[in-house]
């Protein structure tokens, strides 16, 4: 006698019985769909954010800023210090040109699309060498800004999220109209949320005396770091890009994962109770059928497995529904968040396979936990008493 045959027969009966319990079954499906939709969309945000931040980083690229300043924005470097740093050993040199870009980063308030309130977009003043330091930056429309002029180019992500950043338009910065002359992409990294202009034009507009940070490509990170950190006059910090962005994204990552797992977890507990309620009701409604099957000779294990399968099936249906909703509504959408240096980082929500599988695993866990106790109750139905109780 085959337990598998028994299991298939009982599960088949349970599933045929589902239309009669459509209301209570939908409670489980919709409850789990809600859990999975929230989980997947927030995890997709976290994934998109991590991907955006991670794709900014190259291991042979470093950020150099004033010691203790934590980020580019709160740093400052004098022109003299910048000159010393750029000529330091360890920085990659190409045709006598050190691949190091001294930069000034300022905030420009720009209204978001569909929103009256503005948000800070980073305007990064760069040297021409910046495009050799960041070869991923590519002009996709318009032209490059001219050195010394009030012109800028806008990242693709910033242009999508903010108003008035199309090529040909002008933007007021410090009382002066700056022309938007181009639009660039940088492979989906954080710089796509920025605007780029000539560093001297930015320094002049903001009446700065120096730069804020230097981004450089390195041939020998240790040598550069040792040289720069052993010079007490400079008082600077040298950080590889991946370490820098990991630190910058930690807070946002923590918030997103908190929302995904804690809020998702609380919702999942609710869904488990819904599943428990539904499956207890299903077992209760089928007590006589279960007792009859047990009287005929069906074993308790196929009964347990069939109840669990039904619960799992309902939860996975909910999981697929939630995943579909998250995918249709959110996948590929761009959202922005406040980075830790008070700039907006625009990143895509990417509902990828890993996130979908995580959502479905959660759905399966809800189904199994919600089904196990009713299944055990079904297996323990006292057969003789249940048959007599009809």
């Amino acid at each position: 006698m085959s337990s598998l045959t028994q299991f298939i027969a009982v599960t088949d009966m349970n599933i045929r019985n589902l239309p009669q319990r459509i209301g209570t079954s939908l409670v489980v499906v919709i409850g789990v769909a809600g859990v999975v939709a929230v989980l997947i969309s927030v995890l997709a945000m976290a994934t998109g954010f991590s991907h955006t931040v991670a794709s900014t980083a190259r291991n042979d690229r470093v950020l150099i800023f004033r010691g203790g300043s934590q980020s580019e924005l709160s740093s400052s470097l004098s022109r003299r210090a910048a000159a010393v740093i750029i000529d330091s050993p360890g920085i990659r040199v190409e045709s006598t040109q050190p691949l190091a870009s001294a930069e000034a980063i300022v905030m420009v308030n720009v209204p978001k699309k569909g929103d009256k309130d503005g948000a800070n977009v980073a305007l990064r003043g760069v040297n021409p060498v910046a495009f050799a330091v960041r070869p991923e930056i590519k002009l996709i429309s318009g032209r490059m800004f001219q050195p010394g002029l009030d012109e800028l180019i806008v990242g693709k992500a910033a242009q999508i999220q903010f108003q008035g950043l199309e090529v040909g338009k002008k933007i007021a910065i410090r009382g002066t109209e700056w022309s938007i002359v181009g639009n660039f992409t940088s492979g989906g990294d954080t710089h796509e949320s920025e605007m780029l202009a000539d560093v001297e034009a930015v320094i002049t507009a903001y009446r700065r005396e120096g730069y804020q940070a230097i981004t450089a490509l390195v041939d020998d990170f240790t040598k550069l770091k040792d040289t720069l950190t052993s010079n007490p006059e400079l008082g600077i910090e040298v950080v590889r890009e991946p370490d820098y962005y990991r630190g910058q994204s930690r807070q946002v990552d923590a918030i997103l994962f908190f929302v995904a797992y804690v809020v998702g977890g609380i919702m999942a507990i609710g869904a488990i109770f819904a599943a428990l309620n539904t499956m207890y009701a299903a077992v209760s409604a089928r007590t006589l059928e279960i007792a009859t099957l047990r009287a005929i000779g069906f074993g308790p294990l196929p009964i347990v497995a069939s109840i669990l399968s039904e619960s799992l099936l309902l939860s996975l249906l909910g999981g697929l529904l939630g995943a579909a909703v998250a995918w249709v509504v959110f996948n590929g959408n761009a959202v922005s968040t406040l980075g830790s240096n008070f700039t907006q980082i625009v990143f895509p929500i990417s509902v990828d396979a890993r996130v979908l599988v995580t959502g479905l695993i959660w759905a399966a866990v809800v189904g199994l936990v919600g089904g196990i106790f009713p299944a055990i109750r079904a297996a323990r139905i006292p057969v003789a008493a249940a048959l007599q109780a009809q």
């Binding site: 085959s2 045959t5 009809q390």
Partner: protein
């Protein structure tokens, strides 16, 4: 040689601190091919006794032997398998699976055997033919009359050729005419196929179809006289 033998069978339940005696030292032998009607007032213990013989319950004390096997000594899992091989149940309210067709209901006990699908369906067709429902194989219980549903239940009970047919008020939910048809069918199975049948009933007319009537009262057997079956 008995096919069913009960020796000093006692059954009691504990309800809170109270001990409820249901069966008192029952001794009973049922011969192969016998059609036994178990009668008595409500609460006399006849269904409890039927459950012990059918392996749905175990005695508090005493021995229940069916086909030479000590049923009271079997574990829960062993009892399930034993029931599948040796007992066909017929219930008052038929206990068919409402979502399955008549043939799928009848097939259920065969799912516990090594028969393949074609063999199962062949046996199902023969069983439905025997109970006169070959043309209702695809109907669901809700589409059948009470008498037809009980015939499906009888086919289900017969399908795996069990040692015993155990019937609990098989005509209790049927009108007189249909009840007589069902009793006629059971009698035919007893006489022509040699099935041993043990039937609990309140109905003297149904009991008249049995070859022996046994009366119970307050958990004790009051053996009735052996009778010839009703015509």
């Amino acid at each position: 040689m008995s096919v069913v033998s009960l020796r000093n069978v006692v059954k009691h339940y504990t309800r809170g601190k109270e001990r409820v005696e249901v069966l008192h030292s029952i001794n009973l032998d049922i011969a192969p091919g016998e059609f036994l009607a178990l009668m008595g007032p409500s609460g006399s213990g006849k269904t409890t006794l039927l459950n012990l013989i059918g392996g749905l319950d175990r005695p508090s004390a005493g021995e229940v032997t069916v086909g030479g096997e000590r049923v009271d000594a079997l574990s829960g899992g062993q009892l399930s398998k034993w029931r599948a091989r040796h007992v066909g149940f017929i219930f008052q309210f038929y206990n068919l699976m409402p979502m399955l067709s008549a043939e799928r209901n009848v097939e259920l006990p065969l799912l516990l055997t090594p028969l393949n699908s074609a063999q199962r369906m062949s046996n199902v067709a023969a069983a439905l033919e025997l109970v006169g429902l070959a043309d209702r194989a695809k109907h669901k219980p809700g589409e059948l009359s009470g008498g037809q549903q009980q015939r499906v239940a009888i086919a289900r009970a017969l399908i795996s050729d069990p040692t015993l047919l155990v019937c609990d008020e098989p005509t209790g939910d049927l009108d007189r005419e249909t009840a007589e048809e069902i009793m006629g069918l059971l009698q035919m199975l007893n006489k022509q196929q040699g099935k041993t049948i043990i039937m609990v009933t309140h109905d003297p007319k149904a009991a008249a179809y049995a070859s022996r009537q046994v009366h119970m009262d307050k958990g004790r057997l009051v053996e009735g006289e052996a009778r010839t079956a009703a015509a």
